[in-house]
Symmetry: C2
Subunit: 298 residues, 2 copies
């Protein structure tokens, strides 16, 4: 087990003979993109769909499919080994947090259990780090989704035709500060700013819930005036890039438009843009900007 794979060389995922990759699929559209990319590269992945989270179609022809309730993630290694899995990619969110007493583990995980439970108490990202450590200690190499689908990483600058205004820039700055602050506490990744001020923060309801709330606030006249507001998504500072980088896509653009926002800003190279052509076309159509900001931006 080595970690020689350079994080900055996203082209480096090449499976050798006798190697097989599994995709642990959580919520959102990222798992589907990763799956398509793996199939297009000629692999036959094992998809582990986390129940209640993953939206992976049944009846696969070009991949194998296992369903796993989240409380059984601690029993995953023998099942992966049974399918000859040597590599694994985590994609999508896992918001469900089963009660600790419901968690199931294999005996092999017992050594790691105290660390996993501590991480579990700490939050999502700690848990994912611990799971990655546990998988790698068991000889399964964990690769990041950004290594499988580097072409989906958000580039720096504006996609599409629309540029942020000076007022939008103030919202972006306020949103970045807030999104990083809550990311540091492992609470969420997203903030909505309006009139230079953050008005809503993401918790476990996710970005769709955050935008729905923004829409309700606007419809109730709580966001008055010409200002439109901005959605900002940041990777948590120090986030394990192999775990859960933020993602946006066409639905995010639709939801942001419905919430009356003027655009979306996410961290360049540390977030995904899914179905990018459709997302950009929609953003252009609705007059929204899509900005990838430099991770060094304050």
């Amino acid at each position: 087990m080595t970690m020689m794979m350079a994080r900055n060389d996203p082209q480096s995922l090449k499976l050798g003979p006798g190697e097989r990759i599994a995709l642990v699929a959580g919520s959102g559209m990222l798992p589907k993109s990763v799956l398509q990319s793996l199939i297009a590269a000629g692999y036959r992945p094992l998809v582990v769909a986390i129940e209640g989270e993953a939206a992976i179609a049944e009846a696969p022809a070009s991949y194998d499919l296992l369903h796993l309730p989240p409380e059984r993630l601690g029993q995953i290694v023998p099942r992966l080994k049974g399918h000859g899995v040597t590599h694994l990619v985590l994609a999508g969110g896992v918001a469900t947090r089963p009660p600790v007493r419901a968690l199931r583990f294999t005996p092999g995980i017992l050594l790691h259990l105290p660390r996993l439970l501590t991480a579990y108490a700490r939050g999502d990202d700690g848990l994912l780090r611990a799971i990655i450590g546990y998988l790698e200690a068991n000889g399964i190499r964990v690769v990041g989704a950004h290594e499988v689908v580097p072409e989906l990483l958000m580039p720096e600058g504006c996609l599409g035709k629309v540029r942020p205004t000076a007022a939008d820039e103030k919202d972006i700055t306020a949103g970045i500060t807030a999104a990083r602050a809550i990311g540091r506490l492992d609470i969420g990744q997203a903030a909505v700013a309006f009139g230079g001020r953050v008005i809503a923060l993401e918790g476990i309801e996710g970005t769709d819930g955050l935008l729905e709330r923004t829409k309700v606030l606007r419809n109730h006249g709580r966001l008055a005036g010409k200002n439109r507001g901005v959605l900002v998504k940041c990777a948590k500072p120090g986030q394990e890039a192999r775990a859960d980088l933020p993602a946006i896509g066409p639905q995010t653009v639709r939801d942001a438009h419905d919430a009356g926002l003027s655009g979306i800003a996410t961290e360049a190279e540390r977030s995904f843009i899914l179905d990018g052509a459709e997302a950009v076309a929609l953003a252009d159509h609705h007059g929204l900007f899509l900005l990838g900001f430099n991770g060094g931006r304050q």
Copy 2:
């Protein structure tokens, strides 16, 4: 104009002959409590009800009533002077943020305008600080609600019969950290923690919106298990105590219970408990704790 009134001597509000106090009433139940206390002390206050925020009954017999849209706060001084007002207390929230171009000011405020507009862009608390400075520069002494109704300040320790469990204590600690972090950014004052982790943060929707969201998350099975969760409210670090200290009351207890929480923790001496007897009786009835934590708690 002096600021000799000791902040730590809440008994010091005594109006002399020829002095009159006005109450600028925002949202929530605090303005009503402040009003009742002023009337009980034998004063006849002028109530300035902020339109869209204040819930002050019409047809007053023991006070005078003015309605003021929030965008006209900058025209308040001549109206106060016209009513002989020498003292003013701010109570309740002002969530409405009219667009800057709608703001109306008297010529007398022009000197303060740049500072007010900067504060306005910065957020609520900055705006309130600036308004306080503007009023005091115009010879109106601004007192804190905690000086008018010191008996409503949350004491340290548990009110009622229920005590937080060890699991609740972890939620309280996580909630305090998060509520302070968003307070420092002037975003909100409250957080809900569950299973040792913050799951929702207050934005401009307010605490009732935060608890409603928590209820929805719970009803959708996003908060599973025996853990119940805790609401934490903190004064913003460095908050101007005369502006908008957090408050809880019977409705907060009802909403927290509806959201399935096990209790409420607020900062002792830096938050209000309104209709305390009813709030405690309700909390006891529903099995919720009501904790005033020491401001030095980490």
